[in-house]
């Protein structure tokens, strides 16, 4: 096994996501096509909170695993945690604001009993990967595999929230914020992985976990549709919603 060049490694990381993008999962398609009710979106908020709510916790495990010589990576992780929690409005509070506009409550959103088993699996995978893997591998999984997908998902879904579902900009601020912030977080994630996966084995492990992460996010998004939406949209064909996982 040989060490990939920077360009080839980046192309392999991008290729590991391709065909597994969560924006193509059935729940995302139904969202973009204006087919969801506010009840469906409330269930999304009740699940999404338990995936992204601990994001600073995941990053903190990665931070602790990064050596003190990896200053650039540690600075990024700390900045990312800071932005999630205290730099302005806490991101989960924006998510709860959206959920409340959909008709659910802070109490229901924060209650872990309201997530489905697939969401619980995604959360557990995030914790385990952050805690157990080399910091470059964990960054690949969580930042490249998961977080870097966010702009492409929300750039499609945010305008629909305003135009078709009738939310105000304030109610949907969670999405507007992440369209831009995760562009930068995603790119910084790539740079950290490219700089710090310095052996063929680490590179291959990064590529594998990016694929795993993309599949986890796809499965999570698809499960939202299967659990909460399919029964209400019986017979609706979602063009472009291709299952990535056999």
């Amino acid at each position: 096994m040989e060490l990939l060049s920077r360009d080839d490694f980046r192309a392999a990381l991008e290729g590991a996501i391709r065909g597994r993008e969560a924006r193509d999962a059935s729940f995302s398609q139904a969202w973009a096509n204006g087919l969801l009710s506010r009840d469906h979106l409330a269930r999304w908020a009740e699940n999404h909170y338990h995936y992204v709510g601990p994001f600073a916790d995941y990053l903190a495990y990665i931070y602790a695993n990064a050596p003190d010589t990896a200053t650039d990576a540690k600075d990024f992780l700390l900045q990312n945690m800071y932005e999630e929690e205290v730099s302005d409005v806490r991101h989960t509070d924006l998510l709860i604001r959206f959920g409340e506009a959909c008709g659910t409550t802070r109490e229901r959103i924060e209650d872990p009993r309201n997530m489905n088993p697939v969401t619980r699996g995604l959360q557990g995978w995030c914790y385990a990967t952050a805690f157990r893997e080399h910091f470059a591998v964990a960054t690949a999984a969580l930042v490249v595999g998961l977080e870097s997908q966010v702009p492409s998902i929300y750039r499609r879904q945010y305008p629909v929230l305003l135009e078709k579902y009738g939310f105000s900009e304030e109610e949907a601020e969670f999405f507007e914020l992440h369209i831009t912030s995760d562009e930068v977080h995603g790119e910084r994630g790539y740079q950290i992985v490219l700089d710090n996966a310095t052996t063929p084995e680490l590179q291959q492990r990064c590529i594998q976990v990016v694929q795993d992460g993309a599949e986890m996010r796809f499965a999570y998004t698809k499960a939202l549709y299967d659990t909460y939406v399919a029964k209400d949209l019986d017979g609706v064909t979602l063009t472009g919603a291709e299952p990535a996982i056999a």
Binding site: Q79, N80, Y82, E83, S87, D88, P151, E169, E176, L177, T180, S181, D182, E183, V184, H185, G186, E187, R188, Y190, Q191
Partner: protein, 123 residues
């Protein structure tokens, strides 16, 4: 193809017609040197002057109005908040970065409140 010219660093990046690319992400990826700290439009470190091609940029986001004020009308944008869909030329000051007064005020207010609470508790 379209291009983003980062005049201060002398770098130029090409992207495919029909694409929309985030200015700060592009700068980071291709090492074009736009200064930045955060990614949320809060710090204002990535303030750039659009010298050419403003019509090829995404709409001005609320964070930019909040952070830049009237400078938005003088052609300034926040690179992290802005997407390009055609040729643009950017420059930026290489000196010190002004603090975000709104955030500074909020934190100072928090510090004052916490101090008052501590003193009240001690009495």
């Amino acid at each position: 193809v379209s291009t983003i010219e980062f005049r201060t660093s002398g770098r130029t990046v090409e992207f495919a017609d029909g694409d929309e690319v985030n200015l700060l992400r592009t700068s980071i990826r291709y090492d074009c040197g736009v200064p930045y700290k955060c990614a949320s439009g809060n710090c204002g470190t990535d303030r750039v002057l659009v010298e050419r091609g403003a019509e090829h940029l995404s709409r001005i986001r609320p964070k930019e109005r909040d952070r830049l004020g009237d400078d938005v009308d003088r052609g300034y944008r926040l690179a992290c908040q802005t997407y390009a869909s055609g040729d643009v030329t950017l420059s930026w000051a290489s000196g010190s970065v002004p603090e975000n007064e709104r955030l500074r005020g909020r934190w100072l207010a928090g510090d004052v409140a916490a101090e008052q609470e501590r003193r009240t508790g001690a009495e």
